[in-house]
Amino acid sequence: MEVLYLLVPFALLLGGFFIAGFIWSVKSGHYDDLETPAHRILIDEQEEEIEND
């Protein structure tokens, strides 16, 4: 079980890495507009359909 003394900090480090990633994504504005991107992704398909016609 001694290995836990080493593995747990590693696991926490990994967790910390993800939290840091989350903070970075928030600060760079990924969550500022949650509504429009959901719509936008739908339209791109529509547009392609028209262009292919």
């Binding site: 507009d33 429009t36 028209i50």
Partner: protein, 809 residues
């Protein structure tokens, strides 16, 4: 000579593209390409555009068609030229490192995915545009242009697509702070979630039997991970608790803050002294759950954020100023000084108060006086900011601008009134207050008692257990959740609630005050009678000519005629005809020559105040059609009023119009004479509403603003003036009073759910407090029981609001 009379009723149709409800008659009604006898209607030009693109050939074709089809630009390109001036660009959209400029516009009329698509096509249409990004929730588009681009061109394009652009001054200090706070909230939740989840892993290991060195190791790691949660994430609780202490009140955050601090310190003490009663897991989970529910609540409220942008909008227009040497330049209203001369064209709003020095015109003063009939003004007379110039261009010498204007002063007064409004203690707060007092006294007594009987460890253990186990979750979590779920559902239905306490007040109202103009009626003139005095075969030749002359004028009557013709005689209209010798006489009518026809549109009887006003059109001096016009009742008003009656509410109609008009409309919606208050001015409206106590006022425009603030609940309806929204608790983004019934039922039901939660919570707390004092519960059991009780009230809330959603919406 067969007199032909046509009447029609307004009704609701679905937009052919996005299925949004549209009130017909609408100017966006067209004949279906596949079946000419069928009419289809659109909610906006964006929908119409995409509909056509999908049903015809290609995108290019659409623009050709649009140019050919009259190409009626709403505002001429000249009006946006000020966007290109060096001074404006330096101030509002400075060059960035790439040599590009960025500007945001608020767009009127963004409804659906189609609008999003069309607006984001800007770079394809205009080579100067690098980026066009729309935020649908706020209706704000961010446009970035290269060196070759012109903002005036962008604005004109948007305008012609049917989205009227308003320049937003570059991101203000307030918006920036708001944005930073939003992001910080999210980081707080994320950090709490990450740490709490990891602590839970250790806690499970410890509960599962990890003891000895490994157990101790896990406990120390829990402590380490709890530090960021207890400091950074939980900061809002400490701040609010500190604030409440300073103001001498007890807030829900106070016991939370105390439980966190005492719990953490006693955990640390246990850890150092070799004890095992450590519950960093329950503390961090508590922080995470509380923050999450608050974030959700805030998000739901921010759907109404669009409104606050209107503050920025007021400085967004532009006006034409005449310089000392007669040169005309475009300036922002904020730069107007007393003594400046401004030119105001027909259809424009006055940006400042002033005296007319040249010309005469008709103005609509409804924003200030509530009077819907146009007023004739001439040289030497005063005009006021926010009034609408209806008839012809005039020159005005500015006597007051900005906050010094009459409207500005009304606004200031209203803002002060808002601050002075007595804070209504929430039902929840009252209960929480007693709850917390009892809890603190109990905890203190427990601590003293066990310190005297046993030792410090037991005393701390019992009192902390008490605080943790009895955490007022129904107050801290379930109440905001119930409110959030209802508020977000209401927002989706077009009802924007500006503060959560409004729902409580809404559930208690006993009386409803309805404004007439623009609320239960459309607020615009509409054709209701159309009597032709020439044979219809001959009439067909005249429609196009009448249409063109009417279209040249901004007068409400002409506008009503224009949309009537577009609706009913679409096939006879021809946008290419030229109007010559066009002229308008304020208060008289307009005339012009189209081909060989000499046309005149004017009033037949000027019975001011009559419910129905009559106008006529003559060709070469011979009357061809008599037109009855009125401000029509919205089709759903009657139904809503009868629904509201079922809720045992008193209903009143308030209007500045005279008795006759008020009675006619009032009777149509099923109101009796004593329920109608006619000829009441803004001040009297305020008095009546204030006198009622628990009254809800629905209205629009500045003339209702006072009444809206005086009311227990003020509701602004769309189509109303921006300023109404700044003073209201609630705002309907859809026309009419249709959402009113749902709103009231939802508010009452939500309060019922909250009271039920409180009952559950009180029962639970009574039981666990007794058990804790008897020493049956330890912190571990408390940490398990507390989330279970939370879960119970949360489930009760979700089930309750879910039921509400299914049954009412």
């Amino acid at each position: 000579m067969v007199p032909k009379q046509r009447h029609f009723q307004s009704s609701l149709k679905l937009c052919a593209h996005c299925q949004l409800e549209v009130v017909v008659p609408s100017y966006l009604t067209v004949a279906d390409d596949n079946d000419q006898s069928k009419e289809i209607v659109f909610c906006c030009n964006g929908c119409r555009a995409v509909y056509q693109i999908l049903h015809q050939e290609g995108m290019e074709r659409y623009y050709q068609l649009k140019e050919a089809g009259g190409g009626q630009a709403y505002v001429s390109a000249d009006n946006y030229l000020f966007l290109d001036s060096e001074q404006f660009l330096e101030q509002s959209a400075p060059l960035n490192n790439q040599g590009e400029r960025e500007l945001s516009f608020y767009l009127q009329g963004v409804h659906c995915v189609a609008c999003l698509w069309l607006i984001e096509q800007l770079p394809k249409v205009d080579n100067g545009v690098v980026l066009s990004q729309l935020n649908m929730g706020q209706g704000v588009v961010r446009v970035r242009i290269s060196r070759d681009g012109l903002f005036s061109k962008v604005a004109t394009t948007l305008d012609r697509w049917g989205y009227r652009p308003f320049v937003l001054s570059s991101e203000g200090q307030l918006e920036k702070l708001q944005k930073r706070e939003d992001r910080q909230d999210l980081i707080r939740v994320g950090l709490a979630a990450g740490c709490a989840a990891n602590i839970m892993l250790f806690a499970i290991a410890i509960y599962g039997g990890a003891a000895g060195d490994l157990g101790r190791y896990f406990e120390w790691l829990s402590l380490l991970l709890s530090i960021p949660v207890l400091t950074y994430s939980a900061a809002p609780f400490y701040r609010s608790a500190w604030g409440s202490l300073q103001s001498g009140t007890i807030s829900i955050d106070l016991p939370i803050a105390i439980a966190l601090v005492v719990g953490w310190i006693s955990g640390l003490w246990q850890l150092l002294s070799g004890g095992h009663h450590i519950y960093f897991d329950s503390l961090t989970i508590l922080v995470f759950l509380l923050l999450t529910s608050r974030l959700l609540l805030k998000r739901a409220q921010q759907r109404g954020m669009k409104l606050s942008l209107f503050n920025t909008l007021f400085g967004g227009g532009h006006i034409r100023k005449e310089g000392p040497n007669g040169a005309v330049e475009e300036v922002l209203p904020s730069s107007l000084l007393i003594g400046d001369v401004m030119l105001v064209a027909a259809g424009e709003q006055f940006a400042a108060d002033g005296v007319i020095i040249d010309g005469s015109t008709l103005i609509n003063n409804s924003m200030l006086s509530g009077e819907s009939c146009p007023v004739k003004v001439g040289k030497g007379e005063m005009v006021y900011s926010a009034a609408l110039n209806l008839d012809s261009e005039i020159k005005v010498k500015v006597t007051a601008s900005g906050e010094q204007t009459r409207v500005g002063q009304v606004l200031q007064e209203i803002e002060q009134g808002l601050n002075q409004r007595a804070p209504i203690t929430k039902a929840v707060d009252r209960l929480a207050h007693y709850f917390l007092l009892v809890l603190f006294s109990l905890a203190t007594l427990t601590f003293i008692f066990f310190l005297w009987r046993d030792d410090l460890a037991t005393a701390l253990l019992r009192s902390v257990t008490l605080i943790i186990v009895s955490c007022p979750c129904a107050l801290g979590l379930a109440t905001p959740l119930a409110l959030t779920r209802t508020i977000s559902k209401l927002a989706a239905e077009g009802i924007i609630v500006r503060r959560e306490e409004v729902l409580e007040r809404t559930s208690q109202i006993q009386e409803i005050f309805l404004d007439k103009t623009g609320t239960i009626t459309y607020g615009v003139m509409q054709v209701v009678g159309w009597e032709e005095s020439v044979p219809s075969t001959q009439m067909q030749e005249y429609y196009a000519a009448v249409y063109m002359v009417a279209k040249r004028s901004n007068h409400p009557v002409s506008q009503a005629i224009t949309s009537y013709l577009e609706e009913h005689y679409h096939q006879w209209l021809d946008g290419r005809l030229m109007v010559e010798e066009f002229s308008e006489q304020p208060g008289e009518g307009s005339q012009g020559r189209v081909g060989e026809y000499q046309l005149a549109i004017g009033r037949i009887d000027a019975l001011s105040g009559a419910a129905l006003s009559r106008s006529g059109v003559s060709i070469d001096g011979k009357m061809i059609v008599e037109i009855g016009l009125t401000d029509q009742l919205r089709p759903d008003s009657t139904k809503i009023v009868s629904q509201l009656r079922q809720l045992d509410l008193k209903i009143r109609l308030l209007t500045g119009d005279n008795r006759e008009v008020a009675s006619t409309i009032g009777q149509k919606v099923g109101l009796t004479e004593d329920e109608i208050y006619s000829e009441v001015g803004p001040e009297r409206k305020g008095e009546i509403v204030e006198g009622s106590g628990a009254g809800l006022m629905v209205g629009d425009g500045a003339n209702d603003a006072l009444a809206l603030t005086k009311a227990s609940v003020g509701v602004a309806v769309k189509g109303s003036v921006e300023m109404g929204m700044n003073v209201c608790d609630l705002y309907f983004t859809r026309d009419g009073i249709r959402p009113l019934y749902r709103l009231i039922v939802a508010a009452q039901e939500t309060m019922r759910i909250i009271y039920r939660n409180l009952a559950i919570s009180i029962l639970y707390n009574l039981v666990v407090v007794v058990l804790t004092l008897q020493g049956v519960l330890n912190p571990l059991l408390a940490a398990i029981l507390m989330p279970i009780s939370s879960l119970t009230v949360l489930l009760s809330t979700i089930w309750g609001t879910g039921k509400l959603r299914r049954e009412i919406f």
